[in-house]
């Protein structure tokens, strides 16, 4: 083993996009390899979990952990890598905020499993065979991780040092973070305060949006497939629900630049904890009506407020996870949808 600083990357409940995003730094990955000794990265190198288990505590210098925590295996790996790493980074929206996997917090574990393994149109499972944590077969016992009721962000499971948001984090931001870490380790500089959000801006997505905002008042909302948006005007001004006002900057306004509204992947704006309630405050200001009935008609244009406002931050939603059934109101209609 070399005496280079050790780097680990891991994916829990994620799509793999964050792994690709790391390679989007292109030839600079060679600089990363030159500086670090990659000791664990299931998607790219052939080290096993037992290799990590055999390490001393704090042996890994930097661990970039992407993916949410959905199963007992995800939780085990999160805690294992926490123990073995000096710096644990929640890398990408899933690890930071729950992201798309955490949208299943709008329904129950059973509804999720039923849909995935039995009821979806592309599934044939007449006996409704469901995954079991333990199955005895002639050759021995098979074990699967437990599937949790709720999807968690990494910091809800273990202690996290830094957060790198984004779905996925953009390549220039990733390189910025890696470059900073290399500089810190190489020159023994002090680390940023614990809990810092790295690789992102300090403003909202609107601040880096190239479009012109006139703060128009709206008589109705439209969905993106219903209109061809004007290329220069603010999308929200055009009645399209754009999460820009409630989302942290850092992406460079990628989506809004090509006529697609911001969906909120860089998470809540600085100094705010809850993206959805901030979005309500922003939207309420642009509705052009003082009449309760007309307001309701206008709001009918916002389909699925929970899924829209918390598309990437459901794990940290103040009111989440969604209560299904029970006496608190509805929620049943969400099940299986």
């Amino acid at each position: 083993m070399s005496d280079k600083p050790k780097l680990a990357l891991y994916w829990a409940a994620s799509c793999g996009g964050c792994e690709i995003a790391v390679l989007d730094i292109k030839e600079k990955i060679l600089d990363v390899d030159a500086f670090f000794d990659v000791v664990f990265w299931p998607v790219a190198v052939d080290f096993k979990v037992k290799d990590v288990e055999a390490m001393d505590d704090d042996e890994i210098d930097l661990c970039l952990f992407n993916g949410a925590v959905r199963t007992s295996d995800n939780e085990y790996m999160a805690e294992l890598l926490r123990r073995k790493s000096k710096i644990l980074v929640a890398f990408g929206s899933c690890a930071c905020e729950g992201c798309i996997p955490a949208l299943s917090n709008t329904t129950t574990r059973d509804a999720t499993l039923n849909w995935a393994f039995a009821d979806s149109p592309s599934t044939v499972n007449p006996d409704r065979v469901m995954p079991q944590t333990r199955t005895e077969v002639p050759v021995g016992v098979l074990e699967l991780p437990e599937f949790y009721e709720t999807v968690y962000a990494l910091d809800q499971i273990t202690d996290v040092d830094y957060f790198v948001p984004g779905c996925p984090p953009q390549a220039h931001q990733i390189w910025g973070v890696l470059e900073a870490v290399i500089d810190i380790l190489e020159n023994a500089k002090p680390l940023p305060p614990k809990g810092t959000v790295l690789g992102a801006g300090d403003k909202t997505c609107c601040d880096e949006c190239p479009r012109e905002r006139k703060e128009k008042k709206l008589k109705g909302f439209v969905r993106i497939h219903e209109v061809i948006p004007d290329p220069d005007q603010c999308l929200l001004d055009q009645g399209i629900v754009c999460m820009g006002p409630a989302t942290r900057s850092g992406c460079g306004g990628l989506c809004v630049g090509v006529g697609v509204p911001c969906r909120g992947c860089y998470g809540p704006a600085p100094n705010s904890k809850d993206q959805g309630t901030k979005m309500i405050a922003a939207l309420a200001s642009v509705i052009d009506s003082d009449d309760p009935e007309e307001i309701d008609r206008i709001l009918d244009g916002i389909v699925d407020p929970v899924g829209t406002f918390y598309r990437f931050s459901m794990a940290h939603a103040t009111l989440g996870p969604v209560t299904v059934g029970a006496g608190n109101g509805n929620g049943e209609s969400e099940a299986g949808s």
Binding site: V197, L299, I302, T318, T323, G325, G329, G331
Partner: protein, 151 residues
């Protein structure tokens, strides 16, 4: 650079027998708080399960406050401001009106009965109306029972 770590706040534990509704009311300084004050000095009795938070304008009531109140153990929230047209800041109460309508849809999506949020207009001279609102809300929350967020 900003930090995101903060110790989670948890609602106090109570048994079913001890339970009484906890209602948080956000009242604007100019009309509704003065109205509630009038109810007090007029010695009108109202339900003690309502706790008042004074804000300068009902428009200061960030939807985040309501979400936080529910997550920390409130069973209901009242938002009250000046009557339409009477806002001390011209249009703060209209913003509140639109916010509360959207907020009700949001909490319904989270499986929380939207009637756990009540928006009323109470002027500085309507002490009796404030007491009535507080009592009605307390009765409604008693009927709905305790709220458990995120269960």
């Amino acid at each position: 650079m900003t930090t995101t770590t903060e110790a989670p706040l948890k609602p106090p534990e109570v048994t079913a027998a001890e339970w009484r509704p906890r209602i948080v009311a956000f009242l604007c300084n100019w009309c509704s708080y003065t109205g509630a004050d009038l109810a007090g000095i007029s010695r009108i009795q109202w339900d003690p399960s309502v706790s008042i938070v004074r804000v300068m304008c009902s428009g200061r009531m960030d939807p985040t406050f309501v979400a936080k109140a529910f997550s920390m153990g409130a069973d209901g929230v009242i938002v009250s401001g000046c009557h339409p047209g009477d806002c001390h800041y011209q249009e703060g109460n209209y913003k509140t009106l639109r916010r509360v309508h959207l907020l009700k849809r949001l909490i319904e999506g989270f499986g929380i009965d939207p009637s756990r949020i009540e928006l009323v207009w109470v002027s500085a001279s309507e002490g009796d109306q404030w007491a009535e609102t507080a009592n009605e809300m307390a009765a409604r929350i008693r009927a709905l029972g305790p709220l458990e967020v995120g269960s």
